[in-house]
Amino acid sequence: MTAATYFFAILFYAATALLVVGLIYKIADFARTPAPLLIPTTPAPTTTGGVVFRMFREVALFESLFKSNLWIWAFGWMFHMGLFLVLARHLRYFTEPVWTWVALIQPFGLYAGFAMAAGLAGLWARRFLVERIRYISTPSDHLMLALLLGIAATGLLMKFVMHTDIVAVKTFFLGLMRFDIQPLPEHPGLYIHLGLVAILMIVFPISKLLHAPGVFFSPSRNQADNPREARHLAPWAAKLDAK
């Protein structure tokens, strides 16, 4: 077995550990921090069911973004939906036998890779072309887009130009999951793809990618508008009562 095999094996164990521990820590932190006042952006749903529906529209359709900026919405939605399909398609590397729904979406995944890359390119172009967005962009914003575009480009390269042995890739990852290391194909495109993916996993819990869990914890979106019907009291605030 090659040194690269061991390198990527260790890298993915480490990256997975950091991703999982980091995300659990952040999500627990969000969940633990109280929201002392009811601050949904109104008009807001008055019931929990309504809140679930609002959140679904935000996450699946980017409803607020749609109302605020069609260009960002178009590129952003294209990127995220592409990303979602690509990730779903990738599940075939980690499941044996492959789940039926994962098998069924395989053909769509193909176009999804391109949609994802096009969306990212559009978003990146805006960071240069629109003065206001140029002003608020930090180097890390550009790097994040470069990272994702790099992952998409190397993936598409493997798919269409320099094929790799995907059966062996799958054997490697199934092996990792059983702590039984199998050889990883020797392929520069694959090395880059996997290296960038590991970086993505590591930075996820310490970067703006926290927007993914964050959206579910945003009080202005996840609270029901029912302050006259129910008393909403955070533990630290309850101590101030009746003094």
């Binding site: 952006t41 109104t42 935000e58 607020s64 003065e131 964050g214 302050p227 009291l233 605030a237």
Partner: protein, 510 residues
């Protein structure tokens, strides 16, 4: 005030997004609260020597207490969707008035002191030390935010810059850098019971004068009761309603509604203020302290129902926070809430907005109007931000938009809606909300009114609109001041209950 003359920016032909003018408003700073005011409400008298340390400590404290702040600090992706949504950015072109850039003033410090990448690679992720320059920017730009939540409506995660502004102001108060206007008001309400520092006897005189005025005008004995034990309704209204124009005309309107419907009501001299500047400064404790006066007054007077007058942020605090702060509302099972619940009549919404009261009475056929009395007016309605995006009226979402409009249409014949991207939840702030309604900030107030003034100009040119109704004391005061800068008469603004007052038939005169 010294400095260059304040001028309104020109109307834009097709509302375009302004080009960036960095630093355009960096010099806008409100007066700093003096030592006496600061200490009077429990803050440090002046900027502490170790202010930086104290600020970071306070930020950590707030991050642990407010999920909003923590999630908002972590979640922004710099997508830019909010950049053109703030009236202060539209009116000034200053990039730091773009909501995300305003948040970034705090986020850059958050990253530096509370996140790993910010500690290791500050310039990569835009993290910054909290220096004196950064603090100067905070004091300038967190006092150029009216906490109107328009940005929150448009952000894909609902990131509410108002929450960030409140936190920043709480931190600045904590280190001894308070704003004179807001903190003086907080001192007054704590001492005297209202924001204007109007003592009980003066209030009694004013109300008596009003009774005489109304009697003279209508021939009817409309009462303005004060501190009446056992009245059914306790009315809590912004103190500007007691003396300022055009606010006072709405107060007369409420009194006429209660009179015509035969509802017994009272004002309270102890709780003669609906406004709550604790909200603007992000102080839960202060907000609770101010709100407690209302609880105490309600218990003392033994009323069955609490009604709130025309005031935007006050309605937010009343509707969304009173139950939390004072147990005034339903659902609480603790002794603290039950005490009030036992007394208040659960068949009414607690608290109710005066517009809910009036609209319910209209629907029940208990009020009669002569609509033609308002025929000299062509009316439009300006939604106030705190009512529109932070509260509700009636039983379904959006009632806060429909109920005031329904009332206007019930009392007047000529109603025109403004451009649809500027009304309902998308409404633009008047430019004076959130604690900036002071003359030392007049420049930003005038500029921030631009989007609303453009929409008003359109309906005034095309449809002859000559009256813009609103249900907020701050909107009324702000517009009265800035309308002339845009070539309008200051009397164009007024209250919804001012229109009610004009048209209502008082029953006993027929």
């Amino acid at each position: 005030m010294a400095g260059p003359e304040i001028k309104a920016p020109p109307f834009r032909d097709i509302p375009t997004i302004p080009a960036l003018i960095p630093g355009a408003m960096a010099a806008s700073k409100p007066y700093v609260a003096n030592q006496k005011v600061q200490e009077g409400i429990g803050f440090r008298g002046e900027l502490a020597e170790n202010w930086q340390e104290l600020a970071i400590e306070k930020m950590g404290d707030l991050l642990g207490k407010y999920r909003s702040l923590k999630v908002y600090m972590d979640s922004c992706v710099h997508c830019g969707a909010c950049t053109d949504k703030c009236h202060y950015f539209i009116g000034t072109g200053d990039p730091k008035n773009m909501p995300v850039a305003r948040q970034e003033l705090m986020r850059s410090v958050y990253r530096r002191y509370f996140t790993l990448p910010g500690k290791l690679f500050p310039s990569l992720v835009g993290a910054k030390d909290l220096t004196k320059e950064v603090l100067d920017d905070w004091y300038s730009y967190f006092w150029q935010c009216s906490e109107c939540r328009r940005c929150s409506l448009f952000c894909p995660y609902g990131i509410d810059t108002a929450e960030v502004t409140m936190a920043a102001r709480a931190i600045m108060d904590h280190i001894g850098l308070g704003q004179k206007y807001s903190n003086e008001i907080l001192a007054k309400v704590n001492k005297i019971g209202n924001n204007l520092g109007l003592p009980g006897p003066a209030l009694e005189d004013t109300l008596q004068g009003l009774e005489e005025d109304v009697k003279e005008e209508t021939g009817v004995d409309v009462k303005f009761p004060l501190d009446v034990k056992g009245a059914d309704v306790l009315l809590i209204t912004p103190s500007a309603d007691f003396f300022a124009e055009p606010h006072i005309d709405s107060l007369i309107g409420y009194a006429k509604v209660f009179h015509a419907a035969g509802i017994s009501w009272t004002l309270s001299s102890y709780a003669s203020e609906a406004g709550n500047f604790g909200l603007f400064n992000g102080s839960y404790e202060m907000m609770q302290k101010v709100a407690m006066r209302i609880r105490d007054s309600a218990l003392e007077l033994g009323v069955k129902r609490i009604v709130v007058g025309e005031c935007g942020h006050a309605w937010r605090v009343a509707y969304a926070f009173w139950n939390t702060l004072t147990g005034l509302g339903g659902g609480g099972t603790d002794p603290f809430s039950i005490e009030l619940q036992k007394q208040l009549d659960p068949t009414f919404r607690q608290p109710s907005h005066i517009c809910e009261v009036t609209w319910d009475l209209i629907q029940q056929g208990k009020l009669k109007f002569d609509k033609s009395a308002n025929d000299h007016r062509t009316i439009t309605f300006h939604d106030s931000c705190n009512v529109a995006r932070a509260s509700r009226m009636g039983d379904s979402p959006g009632g806060q938009f429909d109920i005031p409009r329904n009332i206007i249409k019930a009392v007047a014949n000529n109603y025109v809606e403004m451009e649809k991207s500027t009304v309902r939840e998308k409404t633009f702030c008047c430019g004076g909300g959130g604690g900036v309604l002071t003359d030392d900030l007049l420049d930003i107030r005038v500029k921030g009114a631009l989007p609303r003034m453009e929409a008003l100009k359109q309906v005034s040119d095309h449809d002859g609109v000559n009256f813009m109704a609103t249900i907020c004391a701050i909107c009324k005061a702000q517009f009265t001041k800035v309308l002339p800068y845009y070539g309008f008469n200051m009397r164009v603004v007024g209250g919804v209950h001012q229109l009610v007052s004009t048209a209502i038939k008082l029953g006993d005169e027929q």
